[in-house]
């Protein structure tokens, strides 16, 4: 996997003396007291002039928060951002954002959506119109200047988003998952057009920072991938991409790099001993937010693939996004049904047995496994002690909130779902009571 450096190409810029942007010790905490939630902690990041950097990570890793702090939309709780050596206060006048959801004003036409950005900068009416018309032509929407956004397809709307962002001639071009709300074809063509504009240096833009959770997209476009992890959000590692443009997905170097990035995102399996010691920490063990029904389907698919598969490709075949895939894999690991090693999945003997078992046997097997999870076990034992009547959901939530705070609600939901799946206990939504499930 070390051979991608061989193809090191001229597109990679020489390191500049002072970075365009530098982020030091940035953290962001929301709320206070018991509701305190740390979105990101201790982030250091430099972006040099001429660089295209991708922020990559699962949802909830704070990559969008970081982007908002960098543009000045959000204020960091700790640390600071410097732009061209100067400390950033308020919205960065040299930066702009292209939004995932386009953020076009639905009551303004395409032309008006672009001109209003210029108007806010005090550009005179006549010049506004001319510059907007030129940009709209450039992104290929010449015939749609007087159309309203709702008349356009998603891809066309995002082109308006690009035109508006380019209108203000930003130095730092920020993209917040700009392609993830688009259909596959539009996304691909828009990526190509952006890369063309960027590589040909048509734009006065000095650097691009793009947030994404699409690994291939990051490898396809970026000069450097900054991988983020969660709980709380932090930078895991940075991976330089030294492949020459245009990059091809079929290229083995490309594939190797995708695998490497995937391994960095997914981490590696913890040993049984590590898990056991974690389980000892009572209720602090977090249950991944996965449906056991989905896990069952996933394990079956893995079994039919011969018990091993590349995690990334399997996710693609099942058309699961990273955010959906990771909790399922995590749940599978937690229950001992599968293992992850360097981006590959392996079915354990238990997992194999589970895949082959009947529905009834499966349920019993799962019941035994999830009872090893402290939260589930604790609920089950509490209910057994009080077998005559049900126990109020709130009672569990309060205890749990004392242990893990904010996440109590979500964790209790997952535990209840798992327990119901395994028929360990039942839940009455009307009375909000849990009770033992006896036929």
């Amino acid at each position: 996997m070390s051979n991608e450096t061989v193809t090191a190409a001229a597109v990679s810029p020489p390191p500049a003396a002072a970075p365009l942007l530098s982020v030091r010790g940035v953290g962001k905490t929301y709320g206070r007291g018991a509701k305190r939630f740390t979105a990101i902690r201790d982030v250091d990041l430099d972006i040099a002039s001429g660089e295209f950097v991708c922020l990559l990570g699962p949802s909830g890793c704070g990559k969008s928060t970081l982007l908002r702090i960098i543009t000045g939309l959000s204020v960091a709780t700790t640390g600071h951002v410097r732009y061209r050596g100067e400390r950033l206060v308020g919205v960065n006048p040299h930066a702009t954002i292209v939004f995932q959801t386009f953020a076009l004003y639905p009551w303004l036409t395409v032309a008006q959506n672009v001109t209003i950005a210029l108007k806010a900068r005090g550009v005179a009416a006549k010049e506004r119109e001319e510059r907007a018309a030129k940009l709209i032509d450039m992104v290929g929407l010449g015939g749609f200047a007087s159309a309203y956004p709702r008349e356009l397809s998603g891809g066309m709307r995002q082109k308006v988003g690009f035109a508006r962002a380019m209108a203000v001639e930003p130095e730092l071009f920020c993209l917040d998952e700009p392609f993830s709300a688009l259909d596959v074809l539009s996304a691909e063509s828009l990526r190509g057009e952006l890369m063309e504009l960027w590589l040909d240096r048509v734009l006065p833009t000095k650097a691009i920072l793009m947030v994404t959770h699409n690994i291939e997209e990051a490898v396809l476009m970026a000069d450097r991938i900054v991988v983020m992890g969660k709980d709380p959000g932090h930078i895991l590692t940075e991976i330089p991409v030294a492949l020459a443009h245009p990059r091809r997905r079929k290229d083995p170097h490309f594939q190797a790099l995708v695998d490497r990035v995937y391994a960095a995102v997914a981490g590696k399996t913890k040993s049984e001993a590590e898990m056991a010691s974690e389980a000892a920490q009572r209720l602090h063990q977090r249950l991944p937010d996965a449906e056991l029904g989905a896990l069952a389907g996933f394990v079956e698919k893995l079994a039919s693939d011969g018990g091993t598969a590349d995690i990334y490709r399997l996710g693609g075949e099942l058309s699961l996004a990273l955010d959906e895939l990771l909790p399922i894999v995590e749940a599978g690991e937690l229950l001992g049904l599968l293992r992850v090693h360097e981006g590959d999945l392996f079915l354990t003997p238990l997992g194999q047995a589970w895949a082959d078992a009947s529905i009834l046997a499966r349920r019993e097997l799962v019941a035994g496994r999830i009872l090893r999870q402290p939260t589930v076990r604790w609920i089950y034992e509490t209910l057994q002690a009080d077998a005559e009547s049900g126990v109020d959901r709130d009672q569990f939530r309060e205890v749990l909130a004392g242990e893990i705070g904010d996440q109590a609600e979500e964790q209790l939901d997952i535990a209840i779902n798992w327990g119901r799946y395994a028929k360990l206990f039942a839940y009455d939504d009307d009375t909000e009571e849990l009770y033992l499930d006896e036929e």
């Binding site: 939309l73 702009t96 954002i97 386009f102 953020a103 004003y105 009551w107 303004l108 950005a117």
Partner: protein, 574 residues
């Protein structure tokens, strides 16, 4: 039929039972009413009203006066709403006071304030001005709350990314207001305006024709015309009056609201083309006008350009809009503190005044409250009995809807208070007198809210559920029990909350009636308030008004809101 769903969903009530904040708000109300009552002490004992002519040719002038009062109150409401909602949305501390206050104010029976407002204004202003101002204040208080709530909701639900885009592209405050916030709020604001106008007529009619004892507070207008006509037993004039009222309402609908709604369709946020956009023939007509296009190009566009430039120059550094996080400015805090002191003082004086009331007076008040409560319940039940079957029939049967809906809309557009005098003409002769009449009058003020909500609910039952119920071959009763009633439930609760408010309001004008030369009364809190006004018994007036407010707020908080939550959580079909 989507129109109904839009126009008859009141603001969701605040959650929770009575909070400490509510006690403060009640104190504030007590102080307010007390201040009013204090002023009424100087009110003249005899107030002479205007001469009302029954000649039909006076009607255009009367209609103009009535519409003028409504317009003045509406403009006032709009200004107030924007300022209030802005303060509540921007400043954290302000919101914690303003939002609970809004919640109580919108459930208060406004008509109960009419005597206090009228008497206190007539004490300090020339008579003609006082009645005029009281009418406008009253209509204002009936129109303003849902507008405020709607604008507040728009401000706080403006999608994050639209707000962020405005910040990234360095919009100044004025541009943000003009190009982002106002357009986003436009459609709900317009629908709520339509609602406010419909509600406003009710209070306009009541305040134009208010008389108590030797004080005649009538104002020349459609309301007093109708009352005078009924008084004189002149059925021809009654016909002319109602005809004029319906004509005015229909004209406003066709020439103002429909064109506005059709125009405002561009402000919808949905990114899909609606299949049934609102249309208006009048707007299509205007759209072809060269004159208007010229005015727009020569005046409106340059003017807004100029304003944008001025606003830009005035605020050089754009700030990121963080709703609800900003510190309240010291001036606002100071004003709030002064107000709080005044409120506490007023509240204490109010309590002192209440303490002078004898136990017998309290007993009378409580009995009156009980009687009114029973009357409200009977009126609601009666309304349920006829609106549910008819509403379901209209909502599920297209052919029936096509025939009945326009008819129902016109009939419902006549404010109940306009019909009161007319109905009294017949009802007072029946056995039971005002006791029965009061219930009928309340019914009149409540039934339409219910009917429209039932129609909306029945229309909203998903086709597939109806088909499934057909396929299951359920009997009539089972079909109602498993599908129709549960699906209607949220709409019924919404309708009943609004209708209940209407009925309480109606009690003020229904329990104490001056008809011809005679005064008719029945037991009830409305009658107590009227009698206290008449006989200058100010502690009773204060106690009655306050008690009515507390009772309605309590019933809302403890009963209706619980039902509302159950309805939203369990029975909302979406």
């Amino acid at each position: 039929m989507t129109r109904f769903r839009f126009s008859f969903r009141p603001a969701p009530p605040q959650s929770g039972a009575l909070a400490p904040a509510d006690a403060l708000i009640l104190l504030l109300l007590a102080a307010l009413i007390y201040a009013g009552v204090r002023m009424t002490i100087h009110a003249p004992a005899v107030v002479t009203g205007p001469e009302i002519t029954l000649a039909p040719r006076a009607l255009p002038w009367y209609a103009l006066l009535s519409v003028g009062r409504m317009t003045a109150a509406y403009l006032l409401s709009l200004l107030f709403s924007v300022a209030y909602a802005y303060a509540a949305a921007r400043y954290h501390a302000a919101r914690r006071v303003l939002m609970p206050l809004l919640d109580v104010l919108q459930s208060v029976p406004i008509l109960s304030f009419l005597p206090v407002v009228l008497l206190s204004l007539v004490a300090v202003l020339p008579q003609a001005w006082a009645a005029e101002l009281a009418a406008i204040v009253l209509i204002f208080t009936s129109q303003v709350w849902n507008l405020t709530f709607s604008f507040y909701q728009s401000l706080t639900t403006l999608p994050q990314e639209l707000r962020e885009a405005a910040a990234v592209f360095r919009f100044r405050r004025f541009l943000r207001f003009r190009a982002v916030e106002l357009p986003f709020a436009a459609i709900p604001l317009l629908w709520n305006s339509v609602m406010s106008w419909a509600g406003g007529w009710f209070f306009l009619m009541a305040s134009e024709s208010y008389r108590v004892g030797t004080r005649d507070f009538r104002l020349p207008g459609l309301g007093s015309y109708l009352q005078a006509a009924a008084d004189a037993g002149d059925l021809r004039a009654v016909g002319w009056g109602i005809g004029a009222l319906v004509l005015v309402i229909v004209l406003l609908d066709q020439l103002v609201w429909r064109p506005l709604l059709a125009w405002a369709d561009r402000f919808k946020v949905e990114m899909i083309e609606g299949d049934d956009p609102p249309r208006s023939w009048f707007r299509d007509l205007l759209a072809g006008s060269r004159l208007l296009a010229g005015i727009s190009a020569r005046v409106v566009v340059p003017l807004s350009e100029h304003l944008d430039g001025r606003a830009r120059a005035a605020e050089p550094v754009p700030s990121l809009d963080r709703p609800g996080r900003e510190r309240t400015p010291p001036l606002l805090v100071a004003a709030g503190a002064v107000l709080a002191l005044v409120v506490v003082y007023g509240g204490v004086r109010a309590v002192a005044m209440l303490a002078t009331l004898s136990a017998a007076s309290w007993r009378e008040l409580m009995l009156g409250l009980g009687a009114t409560f029973l009357r409200v319940m009977v009126a609601l039940l009666a309304a349920l009995v006829w609106t549910v079957p008819l509403g379901v029939a209209i909502g599920t049967n297209r052919r029936l809807a096509a025939i009945l809906q326009p008819l129902v809309q016109v009939v419902a557009s006549v404010p109940a208070t306009a019909l009161f005098p007319v109905l009294l003409l017949g009802l007072l002769r029946l056995p039971g007198g005002l006791d029965i009449a009061a219930i009928v009058l309340m019914l009149l003020g409540t039934q339409w809210y219910l009917l429209f909500n039932v129609i909306a609910g029945a229309t909203a039952i998903p086709q597939d559920l109806r088909a499934t119920t057909e396929l299951l071959r359920l009997g009539r009763w089972d079909r109602w029990r498993t599908l129709v009633l549960p699906a209607l439930f949220p709409y019924l609760v919404t309708g009943l909350i609004t209708a209940g408010g209407g009925a309480w309001n109606a009690s003020i004008v229904a329990e104490h009636v001056v008809f011809g030369e005679r005064t008719y009364m029945t037991r009830g809190v409305g009658a107590v308030i009227a009698a206290a006004t008449n006989e200058a018994r100010y502690p009773q007036l204060l106690a009655g008004t306050l008690l009515l407010v507390v009772a309605v707020v309590l019933v809302n908080r403890t009963f209706w809101q619980r039902l509302y939550r159950v309805a939203e959580e369990r029975y909302r079909v979406e």
